[in-house]
């Protein structure tokens, strides 16, 4: 095991796949040798693999993703990077109308092994166009797989699975987890999609959350043991496919559920999870399902405003206390 940051682990996973498979290549804005990616995930890869396989592009999001699709259906394994998740809005046609639908629409004649990497989340005071969490848009589009790693070892194992998957994978990261460190196995490994991980076992209440909110939930869970509340924390790791089994088993055990994400509340992934649980585990629920989300506003800039917008430890703890 070696301790490394999420950023380092992610890069290590990409690098291993590039070494294994010459069809794998990267394209995106400022991912090459001059910059190494806006969040430095690809730093050093252009030097190692060359500018052809770590390809800087013009600022043309729709064509970046479209080009990745065209390359994927003709035999390559592209990873397209969109610098900020907010900017996938510029590539929605290629992501949602093309990549997601081509296999279905063409009756299984082709598949689209493309990975679109991007980053969501606030906390950096960079306002409404660089801070959103829009994963629900893609969960609502059949044909896309969605990975949401929150820990370094998962980032590495899941990116390798994403690259090898024959389908389009939206691989979403979070700005505030890049520097988080974790022990990562030295030997080669992959992590299958659709397998959630119970990050902390507990008996009284289940908390389900993603990325930085998951880290906050784990802090809160630790804190609440002092009050005698035993919290089970579930990390979904992928949203599509979704591990319903682990979630439902946990809820059947605890009888209570709190959902925590950074998304604005209306139509968020948490709404879908709540709906699934009430459909499939209603009889086991001892209290209403609580959602801890951001308010239905754009992400604000000024520190006190953004701090208010993003769910904090206190709100997560309050939601848990309310139903326990």
């Amino acid at each position: 095991m070696t301790e490394m940051t999420y950023r380092e682990a992610l890069k290590a996973g990409i690098r291993e796949e590039m070494l294994h498979d010459e069809r794998v290549f990267l394209l995106g804005e400022d991912i090459g040798r001059n910059w190494g990616g806006a969040f430095k995930v690809t730093k050093g890869l252009a030097e190692e693999f060359g500018d052809e396989r770590v390809r800087d592009t013009p600022i043309s999001e729709n064509t970046i993703v479209g080009a990745a699709i065209g390359a994927a259906i003709t035999g390559l394994r592209p990873i397209a990077e969109i610098m900020f998740g907010d900017l996938i809005s510029l590539a929605m046609d290629q992501v949602c109308n093309q990549a997601a639908k081509m296999r279905f629409m063409f009756g299984g004649q082709t598949s689209v092994p493309v990975v679109v990497r991007s980053v969501f989340g606030g906390g950096k005071n960079i306002a409404s166009h660089h801070s959103q969490s829009l994963e629900a848009w893609f969960m609502h589009t059949p044909g896309l797989k969605i990975a949401v790693p929150a820990f370094a070892s998962d980032a590495k194992g899941l990116i390798k699975t994403a690259i090898r998957d024959p389908n389009p994978v939206m691989f979403f990261e979070h700005k505030l987890v890049y520097d988080k460190k974790e022990e990562v196995p030295d030997e080669e490994y992959t992590i299958p999609f659709g397998e959630a991980k119970i990050r902390k076992e507990g008996a009284d209440v289940t908390v389900w959350g993603t990325w930085f909110m998951l880290h906050k939930a784990l802090d809160v869970a630790e804190e609440l043991t002092k009050e005698g509340i035993s919290v089970e924390v579930i990390d979904p790791r992928t949203l599509v496919p979704l591990d319903k089994k682990t979630l439902l088993e946990s809820v059947k055990k605890t009888g209570r559920l709190v959902l925590v994400t950074e998304e604005t509340k209306t139509g968020a992934t948490t709404a879908e999870i709540a709906a699934i649980v009430q459909e499939e585990a209603f009889d086991w629920l001892d209290a209403p399902i609580k959602r801890v989300n951001a308010p239905d506003t754009p992400v604000p800039f000024s520190p006190p405003l953004e701090d208010y917008f993003i769910p904090n430890h206190k709100r997560i703890a309050e939601a848990i206390r309310e139903i326990v």
């Binding site: 080009a67 065209g70 093309q98």
Partner: protein, 336 residues
């Protein structure tokens, strides 16, 4: 109309070709015509669900371009794509079956007219979102280059698509990466009902190619030989690693935009002018004048194709509809 080369990259046109090429061009053109006439007939019998964007009138574009390609080359098609896929060599049985929504259709009845695709003959896809094919063509051409092949990618799109953002993004990316892609604009003068004069400030869309350092030319899109000659040169350039080219084909729809459109917005004189320039008649006349065909031979080719199309229609009509629950298949490929 004489073709107009917009820069010195294009050679002078010879307007002649080998006999076999002329026969092929005539055959391709009339094959697409026969196919589309059959589609129109089946549509009239209420056998084609949904909408239709017929290729009638524009046959010379698909025929001329695809005649310059190899089987290993790729085309990216559009919502008006029947002609492209038939030109590229698609099986007519499964093509017609697809239009009728049958299980035996090339897309198992999941795509229909706007997504008519046969991947195994080099069709990357047909897209219902105007201008969404250009980025995919960039990627396929990048792939062709990175895989070290001599494959060429043709991207068909209309005048309407040339006003979408992907036009600029994709022409730019293909040029900076020197990719083997050919942009084929089928300028049929109308984006649905909006005339080109209201949407394009210059007489030729091809003028825009210069801004992307892309050799560009305007040809008579109803003359398959002219389209073919331009395509041969563009294909040669692509295979030699000299990058993208753009061919603007001026053409005209014989019918409206889609199923119920009677195209009443088109001035009578304009429509008459273009409808007299029949793509099939033009290439037939050239082939006969150059001694490649006799009238009788041309007639026989047409008759044989008619038989093929009739058989394909019979196959499509007799084919089973999909089972309702087949709607759930093919969302994801199995993970190995």
């Amino acid at each position: 109309m004489r073709l107009r080369s917009l820069n010195q990259e294009w050679k002078m046109w010879t307007m002649s070709a080998k006999k076999k090429t002329l026969v092929d061009l005539y055959t391709q053109t009339i094959k697409i015509r026969k196919f589309e006439e059959k589609v129109w007939e089946l549509f009239g019998q209420n056998l084609v669900p949904g909408t239709l964007h017929l290729y009638l009138g524009q046959e010379a574009v698909a025929a001329g371009v695809t005649a310059a390609l190899k089987k290993t080359d790729w085309i990216q098609s559009t919502h008006r794509g029947h002609g492209h896929v038939i030109g590229k060599g698609a099986d007519m049985n499964s093509a017609l079956a697809e239009l009728l929504g049958k299980k035996t259709g090339s897309c198992k009845g999941k795509g229909g007219s706007m997504h008519i695709t046969q991947f195994d003959v080099g069709v990357l896809g047909a897209t219902g979102v105007v201008a969404s094919g250009l980025p995919i063509a960039v990627g396929a051409a990048l792939s062709a280059k990175m895989r070290g092949t001599d494959e060429v990618v043709v991207c068909f799109f209309g005048d309407g698509a040339s006003n979408n953002g992907t036009f600029g993004e994709s022409l730019n990316m293909a040029a900076i990466w020197n990719l083997p892609v050919i942009w084929v604009i089928e300028n049929n003068l109308y984006a649905m009902g909006t005339p080109i004069q209201l949407t394009c400030p210059s007489q030729n869309i091809a003028d825009r190619g210069a801004g992307y350092c892309t050799p560009s030319v305007v040809v008579d899109g109803n003359n398959a030989l002219e389209v073919y000659e331009a395509s041969v040169e563009a294909v040669k350039r692509a295979r030699e690693g000299k990058g993208p080219s753009l061919i603007e084909c001026k053409t005209y729809r014989m019918r409206g935009h889609s199923r119920f459109d009677q195209a009443k917005y088109r001035p009578k004189e304009e429509a008459e002018h273009w409808l007299n320039k029949d793509a099939v008649e033009i290439i037939k006349k050239i082939a006969i004048e150059q001694g490649a065909l006799t009238e009788k031979e041309a007639e026989n080719i047409a008759k044989n194709l008619q038989k093929d199309v009739d058989k394909a229609a019979e196959f499509a009509i007799k084919s089973e509809l999909p089972e309702p629950e087949d709607a759930l298949d093919d969302v994801f490929a199995e993970v190995a």
